[in-house]
C-alpha cells in the first residue's frame, strides 16, 4: 500500500519532502534548501533554538491555500502536512524591516571590520536586500568601548546585535555563566561577570562565545572569524585525552587561529583555551631549531647527520659492550600512534629488549592493568557521548573541568539538567556545587571508600544478580570480602560519614544506567590498580556494562596515553597488548619483525632509574617527556639520568631533562606533523600537519625512521599511512584501520575490517570471557605509615585548566598571563595554626626535600590536606614527592605525600623568573 505522503511529509514553497522526527521548520528547510536559505541571526547549530531575532520568519499554512501564519522557523516544531512559505512577499518584507532596525544601531564599518566577508549580519542584510534605512539619526550604542583586557578574549560591543548567542554559548556549552544581558530594551547590553572585563570576570577563555557570536562583537585576539586564512586544516588537539578536533586557519606557513568544527562528534563546536588558543608556542623563539651534541661537556649545535652519526656510534658501542638490555626508551603520550609504534619497534627490534615504557606509567598504567584484569581490555568501555543517555554520573578522583575541560563541561551540563552527579574527591572541585553527592575522602583511601560503596549496594539488595551470574566470576569470594568489612574502621579511615556513602551507593546502584569516570586521583596511588578493579566491581555488581550510558571510563591524561599503551610502549606487552613473555606472541613478533625479540619483560620507568643508578642501564632514549620535572622524587631522577653513559632526548624545547642529554634532537610539534591520536574513548583520529615543520626540526616519526635506517634496520621512510598500515597488520584491534577509512570523525577501536568501529565494549561478553570480581581490603599507603608522624600534612597534587603538564608548551603562550604560578591550597584553620596568611610564602618539606610557594587559603581542601599543581618548574614540586608506587604497575603515588609546612619570613631570592611569552 502506498503511504499517504501527507502523513510523513511537509512542503517547502510547494515542494514536498519527508520530515524527520525532532525537526523544526528551520532544520527541515536547512536540510532541503541549505543553511542560509532562510536567513537567521540568533540561531546557531550548536545552541538550543532561541527565537529572538525573528529574521527566520516564514509563513505556515495547514492547507496549500489555507490561512497563513507567520512563525519563527528556528523554534517552531514541524508537523506533517504543513506548508511552509519561505519567500513570500510578506516574510521578505518583515525580514527586511527587522534587519533595517538592527542596522540603525550598527557601526557599519564593514570594510575594516575583522569579520568582513564572514559576518552573519552582513550576509543576512545582503540576502534580505536592504535598500535603505528610513529612520533618522538617533540614540545608538556606537560609542561602546572595546575590551582588550584579556590575553585572548576581546569584545567590541558597538557591534553587538543582542542575539544572546554568546550568553547561551557560555551557559549551554561551557557552563560558566560569565556573560549576561544587562538592562532591558534599548539599554540591554552584554556584560561579563558583574559588569567587568573579560580579564576580571570568571571567564575560562574557552572561546565558545567568540565562536558563537555572529559579528565581531565578541572575538579573540587571533581574529578567528576573519577570512584572512588561505587554508583550514582539521586536526586533533594535543593537550588532553578528550581529543578535541580543531579547525586551524593558516595563511602560508603561519597559523592564524583555531576554531572548533561544528560537526565534530568529540567536541561539538567546543574546546578549552588550550586547544583553541595555546598554539603560539609553535614558533616561540625558545623552540629548538638544530640538533645539539654534547662536546666537551657542553651541548653544541650540530647537523642532523652529525647527530645521527654520534648516536649510531654510541648506541652501537653500548649494545656491543653491554647488550641490548643496557638500553631503554621512554616514549611519549604526546606523540602519535605511529611514532609510539616506531619507538617501541626501534627499542624492541633494534636492541632486542623490552625496556620500553611511556609516561602512561606515571598516570594511567593502573587503569590499563586493572581493567584488563577485570574486563580484559584496558580502555574506556563507553564513549563520552553516552553522557546523553546516562541517569547517574560518578566521578572518582578526577577534576574534569580542569583536566578534561570539554568533557568536564559536558558533565556539568548534564548535572544542570538534573542528572545525579556523585563526586568522590578529597577536594571541593568545580563540579561539586553541581553535584548531588560529594564524598570528600582523605587522600589515599579510595579502596576503603569504594569498598564501603560496594557494601551498601550489596546491603540494599541493589545488585544485578542476573548479570553477576551470567557474565561474571569470583562473586562468592567478593561477597565474602564485603561481609568481612569493618564499617567503623573504614569510616574512620576515609573520613566520610557512612550515611553519605550509603546515599551515594543507592543513587549509583538504583539508576537505570550509571556511568563512572575516573582520573589520576584513582591511579596515582600505591593501590591505584586495585582501585581501578574496585571501580570495575561496582559496575559489574550493578550490571552497568555493555550498553549506552554505563561503564568504567578513565579520563586519560595526555592526549595519546591510550595510544602509547595500545602501540606497545609498555615493557610487558608489545603492540596490541600481547604479553611479551607468552611463547606464541613472542613467535608472532619475531616472525612479524624478522628479528630477534626479547621474551623477557622489560623495565618500567622507575626500574629504569634504579637500573641506571645500579650501573646496568647505560643508555636511554627519551621522546618528548620532561622526566626531571614530571616524575616524582626529582633528585632521584636526576641522579639516575646523570649516571647514564648516553642519553638522547627528542624535544621541542630545552627542558631540564634535555640539559642532561648527550644528543638533543629538535622535534616538530603536533601542528607540524601527521599521524593519529587515540583519545580516551578509544577513538583513533587523524592528526594532519597544519604547517610545515619549523626549519631545523623533524617530526618524531621521521627521526625514528631515519635513525632506524642508520642503525641498519630495514625501515621504510616515514609516512603516516604506511606506518598505520603496518600497525593494522600487527595490532588486532586496528585490523580495519586505514588512513582514509578513519574519516574526519575518527573511529573507535576495535576497528573491524571495513573500518567499522566499536562504540561500546563488552556488550554480550567481556573481552576476557567473564568479568572478574576482585576484593581488596584497604591498606594504608607506606608513605603515610612511614612519615605521617613526622610530616603530619598530606599534600596532594593536580593540574589546572590553563596549563599542560610542566607547562613547556602552555607557558609559552598567552596562558602564562592568565595563571602565573603554582599555589598551595591550605585550609584556613591549618593556616591559622601555622600562622600563615593568604599569599604568604611557605616552605613545604618532606622526607625527600623541600619546595617553596605561595599559600592560597581555601576551604576546597579539608584541614590536614594541602593541594598544589605542578606546572611551574620554579617550584619543582616533585622534589618532595616520594618514590612510593602502585604495587602492580609502579605508577608513582603523586597524590599522597606526607609533608609539613611553615611560613617563610624573608622572600625567596632565588625564585627563577617566569618564562617569557
Amino acid at each position: 500500500m502506498v503511504q499517504d505522503l501527507s502523513t510523513i511529509s511537509a512542503t517547502i514553497d510547494g515542494e514536498s519532502h519527508v520530515i524527520e522526527s525532532g525537526d523544526t521548520l528551520l532544520k527541515f528547510v536547512d536540510r532541503h534548501r541549505g543553511r542560509g536559505h532562510v536567513p537567521t541571526l540568533c540561531d546557531a547549530p550548536q545552541l538550543a533554538p532561541y527565537g529572538a531575532c525573528r529574521v527566520c520568519s516564514v509563513e505556515v499554512a495547514l492547507q496549500p491555500d489555507g490561512p497563513r501564519r507567520v512563525v519563527a522557523a528556528c523554534h517552531t516544531p514541524l508537523a506533517a502536512g504543513m506548508h511552509i512559505f519561505t519567500e513570500s512577499a510578506k516574510v521578505q518584507k518583515l525580514r527586511r524591516n527587522i534587519v533595517e532596525l538592527v542596522l540603525t544601531d550598527h557601526p557599519l564599518d564593514c570594510l575594516t571590520c575583522e569579520v568582513n566577508g564572514n559576518c552573519e549580519l552582513q550576509t543576512v542584510a545582503a540576502k534580505v536586500g536592504i535598500r535603505g534605512v528610513r529612520y533618522p539619526a538617533g540614540a545608538n550604542h556606537l560609542d561602546r568601548a572595546k575590551d582588550q583586557s584579556h590575553p585572548y578574549m576581546t569584545s567590541d560591543l558597538s557591534k553587538c546585535i543582542n542575539c544572546s548567542r554568546c550568553v547561551r554559548a557560555c551557559d549551554e556549552i561551557q557552563g560558566q555563566f560569565v556573560l549576561s544581558m544587562h538592562g532591558r530594551g534599548f539599554n540591554a547590553r552584554i556584560i561579563k561577570g558583574l559588569d567587568t572585563s573579560f580579564e576580571k570576570s570568571p571567564c575560562v577563555s574557552c572561546g565558545a562565545c567568540a565562536q558563537a557570536c555572529p559579528t565581531s562583537a565578541i572575538s579573540d585576539v587571533f581574529q578567528s572569524k576573519s577570512i584572512e586564512a588561505s587554508r583550514k586544516t582539521r586536526t586533533v588537539c594535543t593537550y588532553c585525552g578528550v581529543g578535541c578536533n580543531l579547525n586551524v586557519a593558516t595563511k602560508g606557513n603561519e597559523i592564524l587561529s583555531i576554531q572548533a568544527p561544528l560537526d565534530s562528534e568529540v567536541n561539538h563546536a567546543h574546546t578549552c583555551l588550550k586547544g583553541r588558543y595555546a598554539f603560539k608556542f609553535v614558533k616561540h623563539r625558545d623552540r629548538l631549531r638544530s640538533p645539539l651534541v654534547r662536546v666537551n661537556g657542553r651541548l653544541q649545535p650540530a647537523t642532523w647527520e652529525e647527530a645521527y652519526a654520534h648516536i649510531v656510534e654510541n648506541l652501537t658501542r653500548i649494545k656491543a659492550d653491554h647488550g641490548g638490555h643496557a638500553v631503554a626508551g621512554i616514549s611519549s603520550a604526546r606523540c602519535t600512534n605511529e611514532e609510539n609504534y616506531l619507538m617501541q619497534k626501534f627499542i624492541r627490534v633494534g636492541f632486542g629488549t623490552n625496556n620500553i615504557d611511556a609516561c602512561a606509567r606515571v598516570c594511567h598504567s593502573p587503569t590499563a592493568w586493572g581493567m584488563q584484569k577485570a574486563f580484559g581490555t584496558g580502555a574506556a568501555t563507553n564513549s563520552v557521548e553516552d553522557l546523553q543517555y546516562t541517569n547517574c554520573i560518578m566521578v572518582i578522583g578526577a577534576n574534569p573541568t580542569e583536566g578534561h575541560p570539554v568533557t568536564g563541561s559536558k558533565i556539568k551540563q548534564r548535572a544542570l539538567k538534573g542528572v545525579p552527579l556523585i563526586i568522590i574527591d578529597p577536594r571541593e572541585i568545580e563540579l561539586v556545587p553541581f553535584a548531588t553527592h560529594h564524598l570528600q575522602l582523605r587522600p589515599g583511601t579510595n579502596v576503603a571508600l569504594l569498598d564501603m560503596l560496594a557494601y551498601y549496594i550489596w546491603e540494599a539488595g541493589l545488585t544485578d544478580q542476573e548479570f553477576i551470574t551470567k557474565r561474571c566470576e569470583n562473586w562468592a569470594e567478593f561477597e565474602a570480602g564485603l561481609k568481612s568489612l569493618d564499617l567503623d574502621a573504614l569510616e574512620r579511615i576515609h573520613g566520610v560519614p557512612r550515611e553519605k556513602v550509603k546515599a551515594a551507593a543507592i543513587e549509583y546502584a538504583s539508576a537505570e544506567n550509571a556511568m563512572a569516570f575516573h582520573g589520576l586521583g584513582v591511579t596515582e596511588h600505591s593501590h591505584g590498580s586495585k582501585t581501578v578493579m574496585t571501580i570495575a566491581n561496582l559496575a559489574m555488581m550493578t550490571g552497568n556494562i555493555g550498553r549506552p550510558g554505563v561503564g568504567v571510563n578513565p579520563l586519560r591524561g595526555q592526549n595519546n596515553v591510550q595510544g602509547a599503551a595500545d602501540m606497545g610502549c609498555q615493557p610487558h606487552q608489545g603492540a596490541g597488548y600481547l604479553q611479551v613473555n607468552d611463547p606464541s606472541n613472542h613467535l608472532l613478533y619475531e616472525q612479524f619483525y624478522g628479528a630477534h625479540i626479547s621474551n623477557e619483560i622489560g623495565l618500567k620507568i622507575p626500574q629504569m632509574y634504579e637500573a641506571a643508578l645500579a650501573g646496568h642501564l647505560k643508555a636511554m632514549w627519551i621522546v618528548g617527556e620532561d622526566v626531571v620535572q614530571t616524575d616524582p622524587n626529582t633528585e632521584h631522577v636526576k641522579a639516575a639520568i646523570s649516571s647514564l653513559e648516553f642519553l638522547v632526548v627528542q624535544e621541542l624545547f630545552m627542558t631540564p631533562t634535555a640539559e642532561y642529554a648527550d644528543v638533543v634532537l629538535p622535534a616538530s610539534s603536533f601542528l607540524e606533523k601527521s599521524g593519529t591520536f587515540t583519545n580516551g574513548e578509544r577513538r583513533v583520529q587523524r592528526v594532519n600537519a597544519v604547517i610545515a615543520p619549523l626549519a631545523g626540526t623533524k617530526p618524531d616519526g621521521q627521526i625514528l625512521c631515519e635513525i632506524m635506517q642508520r642503525m641498519g634496520l630495514s625501515q621504510p621512510d616515514y609516512t603516516p599511512e604506511g606506518v598505520l598500515a603496518e600497525i593494522a597488520r600487527i595490532v588486532p584491534f586496528f585490523k580495519g584501520a586505514t588512513w582514509d577509512g578513519l574519516t574526519e570523525q575518527g573511529t573507535q577501536w576495535p576497528i573491524q575490517e571495513g573500518g567499522i568501529g566499536t562504540e561500546i565494549l563488552h556488550i554480550d561478553a567481556f573481552k576476557r570471557g567473564l568479568g572478574k570480581f576482585h576484593f581488596f581490603p584497604f591498606q594504608e599507603s607506606k608513605e603515610i605509615e612511614k612519615h605521617h608522624q613526622e610530616f603530619p600534612f598530606i599534600l596532594t597534587t593536580g593540574r589546572i585548566l590553563e596549563h599542560y603538564n610542566c607547562g613547556t608548551m602552555t607557558r609559552r603562550t598567552g596562558n602564562a598571563q592568565i595563571v602565573t604560578e603554582d599555589l598551595l591550597a591550605i585550609h584556613p584553620q591549618d593556616a591559622a595554626m601555622k600562622n600563615i596568611e593568604d599569599q604568604d610564602q611557605v616552605r613545604i618539606f618532606s622526607a625527600r626535600g623541600e619546595v617553596r610557594m605561595k599559600a592560597r587559603l581555601s576551604t576546597e581542601v579539608q584541614p590536614g590536606i594541602l593541594y598544589t599543581t605542578f606546572h611551574f618548574p620554579e617550584n619543582l614540586v616533585n622534589v618532595v614527592t616520594s618514590s612510593e608506587c602502585d604495587e602492580d604497575t609502579l605508577c608513582p603515588e603523586y597524590k599522597v605525600v606526607a609533608v609539613d609546612i611553615e611560613k617563610v619570613h624573608a622572600p625567596d631570592a632565588t625564585t627563577i623568573p617566569a618564562l617569557t611569552h
Partner: protein
Amino acid sequence: MSIHYKPGKEPHPREHRLIFKNIDRADWDNGIDCYLRDGGYAMLQKAIGMEKAAITGEVKASGLRGRGGAGFPTGVKWGFISPTNTKPVYLICNADESEPGTFKDRYILHQDPHQLIEGMAIAALAVGAKVAYIYIREEFPHAATICEKAIEEARQRGFLGKNILGKEGFDLEIFVHRGAGAYICGEETGLIESLEGKRPYPRIKPPYFPAALGLYMCPTIVNNVESLCHVVHILRMGGAEYAKLGKPNNTGTRILCVSGDVQKPGYYEIQVGHLTMGEVINDLCGGLKPGRTLKAIIPGGSSSKILKAGETYKIKRGAEVVEMGLEELPMDFDTMAAAGTMAGSGGVIIMDDSRDIAWVLNNLNTFYAHESCGQCTPCREGSLWMKKISDRIVAGQASPEDVTTLESVAYQIDGKTICAFGEACSWPTEAIISKFRDELTSHTRPELADTPKNPVTEKAMASL
C-alpha cells in the same frame, strides 16, 4: 448578614460584589480572624471533600475566564496538566499587576489576602500542586508583607502546611516572591524565569507552555489574583449557579478599574456584560467632567486597542448582528473582541476631548520602549523607534511620512515576537494611527519630508 462599608466607599448600587465584598468594609481588617468570622476557609473545607477532577469540573462549568488579560478559561487551563504527569506541579499567582490602567489585584492583596490564599489552596488541590508562589510586583512591598503574614496565619490554623485540615497527603506551602520592577515579569513565562532567579526573558512557545514545561520545567499553572479569588465563590455557589452571573461565555463578575476623564474614577465590580460602556461612564463614574465630550476609550488596559467616540461596531446578539455606538457596547469579553479590541485586564481609560492623541500615543510608546525586555529584535528595536518617532510627532519635528513609518514599525512587531508584549506594544499604535491619522498628521510638518536620513545608516547601505 449585612455588610457595612467605610463612609464614602460604599459600592455603587449597580455593582455586584463577590470578590470585592470585603474591600473597604468598615469592620474589616486583613487578619485571619476577620476572614474566619465571615465564613472564611469554609470553601477549602468543602473542596477537601471533593475529588480533584470535580473541583476543576466546577470551575469549567462556571465558565470563568482569566482576569489577567488574555481571558483564557481557567478550568480548561487547569485541565492541561497531563493526567500521566509524574513531576511536581506548581501553582503561581500572578500578582505582578503592572498593566497601565489596572488597579484591582492590589486591593485584594492589601485588604483581603485570605480570600486569595483560600482560592490558591483550592486551586492547588485541584491541580495537585504542593508548592505555590505569589509573584508580587516590587512596587507592592506592603502587600508582600501582608501576604506573608496571612500565609503564616493560615499555616498556624492548618489551612496550609502538611495534611491540610486533616486530609492525608494534601500538603501546600505558599511562598511570596517579590519581583524587581519590570512589566515583563507579568508575562507568565517571563514570570517563571524570574521566579527561577533568572532574567525574565519570556520563553518560546512551543515548546515551553507552562502547563507542560513551566517552573523548573515542571507543569505549572499561572493565574491572576482575581481569577484565583473567583474560585472560592465558584465553589460556594456551584459552577452552574456562578455561570448564571454575567452572560453566557462571559460569566461571573469582574472588576473594572476606571481611570481618566470621569467624575468618579475607581474600581467597580460588575456582572460581566451587564453594563454598557455608557453606563459605566455615566452611572458608575458619574459622567464625564463638566462640558467635556468623549473622545476615546481604552477598554482593557493600555495594551488594548483604542475605541474612538462616534465609531460604530457590528456586534452579534444571538443570531442577529446589530450596529452599536461606543457607549452602547456592553462590557464583556466577546463584545470587546467583536469591537476589535479586548476586555483585557479590566483597566478602562476614558479620554475626553481635552486630550491630545499624539501625547497619548507618545505616552504609551514611552512606557513600552521602557519595558521591552529586549530579547526579540523587532520588539527591542521597534518599541524604541516607535517612541522616538512619536517623540518627534509630539515635538512637531516629524514629517507626515513618519506617521506611515511608525505604523509600519508597529505592524512589524505585532505577531512576530516571542511574547504577547509584541502585540501589547504595537496594538495601541496601530489603532491610534488608523483611527486618528488626521489628528496625528496635523502635528507634522510636510516641509520636513526631505530632511536627510541617518548618515550612519546611509553609510551602511553603501558598504553592504
